[in-house]
Amino acid sequence: MSRELTKKIQEIMSAEMGHIGVFIVSKQCRDLGVDPEDIEPEDLNDLAKALGKVMLTFGGSEKARKVEREIKKLAN
């Protein structure tokens, strides 16, 4: 279940960032103290914000908002 969340988040990031997306996800997880192999639904909010922020410097505000929105949606 939790590994599934990781996969979905990686997919969202890779769709925008390609190969580098996977790395960004596990790095942000580590920075937040979340085990990348074990992401819980309650981690999603922080993670979405963190990944949105990274996205801002690569793809701009529109993509940042999109990524943040899509990740938050995974909580439901």
Binding site: E16, G18, H19, F23, S26, D31, E37, G59, G60
Partner: protein, 763 residues
């Protein structure tokens, strides 16, 4: 024209430059869509500091020429600022000497990087520098490696490097080398990027007002322009310029004409087409011919094609320059200012094939002297002309040249082109096709693309077998051994090395015997067959020493590893140090990093933590500069182990947190098992047994996947220790007894001692 908006972005750049000027240099990237104004931003910064810094602009060209071109084509601009006067010449000599590719050429790339590093250092001792490279997403892999190296090197120099790239390329597979470059920077915590966005509506209005030098502007016009351009400055700039050329608007005249009279273009393509229609016929002809050469073009070749009088030619060139279509790149070349303009013009050309042929022939004649800097262009033009024989010949040469300089992505591109051309030329494959495939396979191997490497080498073997080329077959077997070894498929690797060995002994091919023996020795070590490992490696040592083969340094490190696995503390160091010396000489940085890493490890075993940390630091330094992400990750988690042992648990965890994403991205299962083991060990110390257990289990999973017997044994022993601490002696015993057995089988003294000690506790 003055810069519209961009306050935040300029402020950020100013900050980075101020830091650089104070001695903390940095690489900063600008990202954004085509024409959004990345270059405009960098130019603005350079304009502001043209007095207090040496400002250098260079652009990567979509049409490839030589590796490292963006660093090379501006030497003249900085050569006056270096102390070592012959530095530029030394660089050119290294890069353009016509040595042939034979063995690994890692050393050459390292020498080139060191020279660039020295140049930048000497310049920055003289003056602060802003070095702007545009369009880095098109860079050859060599340039990207150099950029990555320089990012690390300029940390203490007065240098700001700015790189601009189009952000759309990130999702595109064709740019995977570039995204890998970004990932590498991010791993080192060195990725600083500023994203530039299109104009808002107010900025569009201000842009138009500034462009026309008027106070106010018709609102509806702004509206329409905003819609057509999406706020893209390039579109706006070119569209306004077009209106002026079409004489529908004029500068310093408030817009009064009715909007309906202005035909607002719906695409950038339309702007270019309408602009071309306004140019004199001869000028468009020049552009057409130039566009066939590529995004940049050699002036002498262009002139040769046009048969125009010199003076007339010059006149049209300066007209096109004035019209903002082209710009001078260096003494030999001009380039299109906007690549999309070039593409649009190229599309309108007729008889492309003939033109490509004509260009290739002219380059051959006019550039005979430095032909080795034109291989890729020649290959490309002959290819597009359908002249397969020549295309394949030049593409193979371009591949060699790029491989020699370690620009692997371009080498792969060129070899593939050579192979395609050969297939077009003739039905039957020959030895030369096989040789190309083998080179391609080895290049894939060097870039870590195992699947493709294996496929190419297998294809090569089929051809060699048909032709009966034994010497090549042996080399291909060794290549397959290397590929499988790198992929941790030890059984397959062993089979290939053995096949190579049998054949090499038959043929009395000593160099190949040494390589196969090294491969077999390495695998025996990984399997825990230390005795046979030592005898194989001894053979490899003897031969490689006699032949002065660069594999000698590698053999020394391997031999050290076996002694270390046998529980010996001092002997390994002797071998590692011999390895370090040889590897420094051959500049084999990959194995040098390995040697330092293992030296650190031997001090770790000896519980000399500070010495261990020192060597891991050396390993990390090399890894960061050479872009060896795996070693960078390894040195981080090894340092964590030393820190853990020293009792600095927090620092240890920080290092592990940095290492993990790196090794995950590299899919380095050996490394991952190491990291999780260290997490386990830290938590074991912390007393957080639950976390210790989860992490040790993960370590075990990866160790098994990697078939790493040492690691499996170590992790099992750790698990036993955990159970003892938890008071579950039975569970510990269950693990320890079989562990003791395998330690005995592996003749691993140190490990056996640890197990016996733990066993005492459970009795």
């Amino acid at each position: 024209m003055k810069l519209i908006d961009r306050k935040k972005e300029i402020e950020a750049l100013e900050n980075y430059f101020a830091n650089a000027r104070d001695g903390s240099g940095k690489l900063v990237l600008l990202s954004g869509e085509v024409g959004v104004g990345k270059a405009a931003l960098a130019f603005e910064l350079m304009k502001r500091h043209e007095k207090d810094a040496l400002c250098i602009y260079t652009s990567v060209q979509k049409t490839k020429t030589i590796p490292y071109a963006p660093f090379l084509n501006n030497i003249d601009e900085w050569k006056g600022y270096v102390k070592t006067l012959d530095l530029p010449d030394r660089l050119r000599r290294e890069l353009f000497s016509t040595t042939s590719i034979s063995e690994f050429n890692v050393g050459l790339q390292e020498r080139v990087f060191a020279l660039f590093e020295q140049a930048f250092k000497e310049i920055s001792e003289n003056r602060a520098m802003i070095f702007f490279i545009d369009n880095i997403h098109w860079a050859d892999t060599g340039t990207l490696a150099l950029l990555s190296h320089m990012a690390e090197s300029i940390k203490n120099m007065r240098v700001l490097i700015i790189g601009a790239y189009t952000s759309n390329v990130l999702q595109n597979d064709k740019f995977s080398d570039f995204t890998e470059f970004l990932t590498g920077l991010m791993m080192k915590d060195m990725l600083t990027s500023i994203h530039v966005e299109n104009f808002w509506r107010e900025d569009v209005a201000e842009f138009i007002r500034t462009f026309l030098d008027v106070e106010s502007i018709d609102n509806a016009f702004v509206e329409k322009m905003q819609k057509a351009s999406g706020g893209n400055p390039l579109f706006l700039d070119y569209a306004m310029d077009l209106f002026i050329k079409e004489k529908v608007v004029r500068r310093r005249k408030r817009l009064v004409i009715s909007l309906y009279e202005i035909n607002i273009p719906s695409s950038f393509e339309e702007i270019i087409t309408r602009m071309l229609n306004l140019l004199p016929k001869k000028a468009t002809t020049i552009l057409r011919y130039a566009s066939v050469q590529g995004t940049t073009f050699l002036m002498d070749v262009l002139k040769g094609q046009l048969k125009m009088r010199e003076e007339e030619f010059r006149r049209y060139i300066s007209l096109l320059e004035k019209e903002g279509m082209i710009y001078p790149v260096d003494e030999e070349r001009y380039g299109f200012i906007h690549n999309r303009a070039r593409d649009i013009i190229y599309e309108t050309c007729v008889k492309k094939k003939e033109l490509h042929r004509e260009i290739a022939d002219l380059i051959e004649i006019l550039h005979e002297k430095d032909i080795n800097t034109h291989y890729l262009e020649l290959a490309d033009h002959y290819f597009k002309a359908g002249a397969w024989k020549w295309a394949s010949r030049y593409a193979a040469k371009a591949g060699d040249e790029n491989l020699k300089l370690y620009s692997l992505g371009d080498a792969i591109f060129a070899y593939n082109m050579a192979l395609t051309a050969q297939k077009m030329e003739k039905e039957e494959d020959t030895t030369s096709t096989g040789k190309l495939l083998l080179l391609l396979g080895n290049t894939y191997l060097l870039s870590g693309r195992w699947e493709e490497a294996s496929a190419s080498v297998h294809e090569a073997i089929d051809i060699f077998e048909k032709e009966g080329d034994t010497a090549f077959i042996i080399n291909a077997y060794i290549a397959l051994g290397d590929i499988e070894r790198e992929r941790s498929n030890l059984n397959e690797a062993s089979d290939w090395y053995q096949k190579a060995m049998d054949l090499a002994r038959e043929e009395l091919d000593n160099r190949a015997i040494a390589k196969a023996a090294r491969g077999l020795g390495y695998i025996s070590w990984r399997w825990g067959n230390y005795e046979s490992a030592l005898s194989m490696l001894a053979e490899a040592e003897k031969i490689s020493k006699e032949l002065k083969d660069p594999i000698y340094g590698i053999v020394m490190v391997d031999t050290g590893n076996v002694h270390s696995a046998l529980g010996d503390l001092k002997t390994p160091r002797k071998y590692y140090l011999k390895g370090v010396e040889a590897l420094q000489e051959s500049r084999n940085l990959w194995d040098l990093a390995r040697a330092y890493n293992n030296l650190g490890d031997s001090y770790l075993q000896a519980k000399e933590w500070d010495m261990a940390l020192e060597f891991f630091e050396k390993c990390s330094e090399i890894a960061k500069k050479a872009g060896l992400n795996n070693f960078f990750g390894w040195s981080l988690f090894n340092s964590a182990e030393a820190l853990n042992a020293k009792g600095d648990l927090d620092a240890a965890l920080t290092y592990l947190d940095r290492a993990l994403p790196i090794l995950e991205a590299m899919k380095d299962i050996n490394g991952l098992s190491g990291v999780y083991r260290d997490y386990g060990l830290v938590h074991l110390k912390n007393g957080d047994f639950k976390k210790a257990e989860t992490n040790l289990l993960k370590a075990m999973k990866y160790a098994k996947e990697a078939d790493n017997t040492d690691m499996i044994l170590d992790t099992k022993t750790d698990m036993a220790e955990l159970y003892i601490k938890k008071g579950e002696k039975e569970k510990a015993k269950e693990i320890l007894q079989p562990a003791m057995q395998s330690a005995k089988e592996m003749d691993a003294r140190k490990r056996l001692e640890r197990i016996e000690e733990l066993l005492k506790k459970v009795k």
